[in-house]
């Protein structure tokens, strides 16, 4: 097994390469572009036998990806943020086609205001689409998850597209040592895509994605898609088992970090969870019984995994790098809903929104969130949601506003 320093984007490109993707419809967008540039270079150098086509938009890119998967080839694509939303109509559409392929999303905050830096509102927007989603925290995980994602997507019980998510900048441009699996081992884990009879061939005409008349058919197919997505948890666990056997690295639908006998927990997704791990280590050293739950699989929602892991936990700090405007953090809302079905004593949830637009989360903030969760548990009452934001930051924005106003005054004069 070879080890190599790779960025998150580089690891994503390696995932597509090792999966032997046949077709890569592409469109550049920061911070994703390195993925398609890397693949394009390999193809031009003859190292990779695939066809990369740059479309004129993400809407077209996702259409082409779905259409090619519906014809029976293995497809890889990648996007980010505004691009993901530009293609949103087709995200829903191709999931309904039951076209299995892997789309990497490099998370980046959404306009407005326009930014290049990461948060999770882009990926959350695809939550209800029929795409499955798996969130990564390290470069190694990006590569490994892409291989697993193909196996899950193409499984006949599932047959749905999968988004593999990584954070822009923090993971996309961070170099970490990555073990690059041997091709023969990957081939053993991931056999060629077998589309069955769902494909276009002259000898066997098919109509795909036809319209329906009447709600009976519509409801039927929508619910079928939901049931298929729900199958993906078991299929994920099977794939993870096979993966561990071949490659020696194991991934759970929900990563549990130092959750043994934990009374408190952080719940968060993505690369910032590595910061939470560091905080957990320090808090544990200070005598706290605290751990981290990091859902990797977010669609289908790993409710059973979460409830099981939270048995015995008294207080939870849920950290959302997104805002459902007018509601609050999405992870918090979903976890609260899941806990409604929990027997016995339920943990009290404290909701935090942070890391928006790439804003860092400091160790002190993790300690503070742990304290808030602890107090909430002791009181038996959930505190109001909080935005992670400091007075210094507010002063900085006030300063910029003052400059903007001074400029306006200047113009008026």
């Amino acid at each position: 097994m070879k080890g190599k320093l790779l960025t998150g984007n580089g690891a994503a490109a390696w995932g597509a390469r090792l999966a032997r993707a046949d077709y890569i419809p592409a469109f550049p967008i920061t911070p994703q572009t390195e993925i398609i540039e890397t693949l394009a270079a390999w193809i031009d150098e003859g190292q990779v036998e695939a066809r990369l086509v740059t479309l004129e938009s993400e809407h077209s890119m996702i259409t082409a990806a779905g259409a090619a998967a519906a014809t029976g080839v293995r497809v890889f694509s990648a996007t980010s943020s505004q691009g993901l939303l530009y293609g949103m109509e087709m995200i829903y559409t191709v999931a309904g086609w039951r076209a299995p392929f892997v789309l990497v999303n490099v998370s980046r905050g959404l306009a407005t205001p326009l930014t290049l830096e990461p948060d999770h509102n882009d990926i959350m927007a695809t939550r209800d689409s029929g795409f499955l989603q798996i969130h990564c925290a390290t470069c190694q995980e990006v590569l490994d998850t892409i291989l697993m994602a193909y196996r899950i997507a193409e499984d006949k019980r599932v047959r749905l597209p999968v988004i593999v998510n990584l954070d822009g900048f923090y993971l996309s441009f961070t170099r970490e040592p990555v073990a690059i699996p041997a091709e023969e081992e990957v081939d053993r884990f991931l056999p060629p895509f077998d589309p069955g009879n769902i494909r276009f061939r002259a000898s066997a005409p098919v109509s795909q994605a036809s319209a329906v008349l009447g709600a009976a058919s519509y409801s039927y197919f929508r619910y079928e898609t939901h049931l298929a997505a729900m199958q993906a948890l078991a299929v994920h666990d099977e794939a993870a088992g096979a993966f561990a056997e071949i490659f020696g690295r194991s991934y759970e639908a929900v990563e549990r970090y130092r959750m043994e006998e934990a009374e408190f927990a952080f719940v968060m997704i993505g690369s910032f969870a590595t910061k939470a791990k560091d905080a957990v280590d320090r808090l544990r050293a200070a005598g706290w019984k605290i751990g981290l739950l990091r859902p990797r699989v977010l669609r289908p929602y790993p409710k059973g995994h979460l409830l099981k892991a939270l048995a015995g936990v008294r207080g939870v700090a849920v950290i959302d790098q997104n805002i459902s405007v007018g509601r609050g953090g999405v992870l918090h809302t979903e976890l609260a809903a899941a806990l409604a079905d929990m027997g016995g004593r339920r943990p009290v949830l404290a909701s935090f929104m942070g890391g928006l637009g790439g804003r860092d989360i400091s160790p002190q903030e993790f300690y503070e969130m742990a304290s808030v969760a602890k107090k909430a548990a002791e009181k038996g009452e959930a505190p109001p949601p909080r935005l992670l934001y400091t007075e210094t930051e507010l002063r900085e924005v006030r300063r910029l506003q003052a400059i903007a106003r001074a400029d306006q005054m200047e113009e008026r004069r």
Binding site: E49, L55, A64, A68, E89, F200, A202, S203, S207
Partner: protein, 310 residues
């Protein structure tokens, strides 16, 4: 067109390949024209469709197509064609599919997608040299939603969103020229009411590779407001008045395939359709009528000056 297999009407296929009993309206000029096109395309084809009237051809679990079908969305049928074409090519290159399983990739959309929402995807497909045939049935408005004006609506036409005394104030977009400006393999205008001209153009398009385009003017009884039985006659009038020039672009040259030497006045075409009724009644609107006639005259004058007539 000396090498054509279609010299006279009896050379055309005697039965249609497209099944009957579809949801299209009686007298649909789009369906009439597309039947002629599909007869020659044959069943070794995959039709990639965008939102429009003809989306209702294939309604689960029925289809009139002998070949394959993929519905995409309104804006991106050419991108769907790109994905299918690329996938078929990859499968053949990697010897995962024998060449006899190959399919012709055909995009089928209305004017709403072709002239407007899908134009970016279309332009992209042409610039990439995609090997596909694009068929646009052009009924000059968003027909499936009740005929609101689109980029294809002619000047003066009343639509559900241009009901004022002057009708639609814009001009019909010249999509033929927009395509031709991309230097594709083939562009042609066709109409169901001229089946021989149509068949020859489909025949020619099929022999070529790369991006090919047929714009099919589709007389639309509900949208244009006329009796379904007059559909063919109105189509013929569109040609004989010079409103719908039958032409083709190939190898950088534009050739008119059926020149109306004794052009009828455009009025003969306009007055047969309810959508232009307000130009004649209660008061004749000479200003708009003359403007429409002048544009048609200027077009044919330009043709006369620019190119030898075949």
């Amino acid at each position: 067109m000396s090498e054509t297999a279609f010299k006279r009407m009896k050379d055309l296929p005697s039965a249609h390949l497209l099944g009957t009993g579809t949801a299209m309206c009686p007298g649909c000029g789009g369906l009439q024209g597309f039947q002629g096109i599909y007869d020659l395309l044959g069943e070794k084809s995959v039709v990639v469709n965008a939102a429009g009237c003809m989306t209702l051809l294939s309604i689960y679990p029925f289809t009139p197509f002998r070949g394959s079908w993929l519905y995409t969305a309104m804006a991106s049928a050419p991108a769907g064609a790109q994905g299918v074409r690329d996938a078929l090519d990859i499968l053949m290159e990697k010897k995962k599919m024998p060449p006899e399983e190959n399919l012709d990739v055909v995009v089928l959309t209305g004017d709403g997608a072709a002239y407007g929402m899908g134009l970016s995807a279309t332009s992209g497909a042409i610039e990439r040299g995609l090997d596909f045939l694009y068929v646009c049935y052009d009924n000059e408005g968003y027909g499936n939603t009740g005929q609101q004006y689109s980029g294809a609506t002619p000047h003066g036409a009343r639509t559900a969103t241009s009901k004022g005394p002057e009708g639609y104030r814009g001009q019909k977009k010249d999509l033929f020229s927009i395509w031709a400006a991309h230097s594709p393999s083939y562009v042609a205008t066709v109409i169901g009411a001229e089946p021989l001209d149509l068949a020859r153009k489909v025949e020619k398009a099929r022999k070529l590779a790369g991006p090919r385009f047929l714009i099919l003017l589709a007389p639309c009884p509900p949208g244009w407001d006329f009796d379904p039985k007059e559909s063919v006659e109105i189509g013929q009038l569109a040609v004989r008045t010079g409103v719908w020039p039958l032409k083709e672009y190939v190898n950088g040259e534009i050739v008119h395939t059926k020149v109306p030497y004794s052009r009828l006045p455009v009025e003969e075409y306009l007055k047969r359709q309810g959508r232009f009724h307000h130009l004649f009644s209660p008061k004749r609107n000479d200003e708009v009528l003359n403007e429409v006639q002048a544009r048609v005259d200027a077009y044919w004058q330009g043709v006369k000056e620019k190119s030898p007539v075949h």
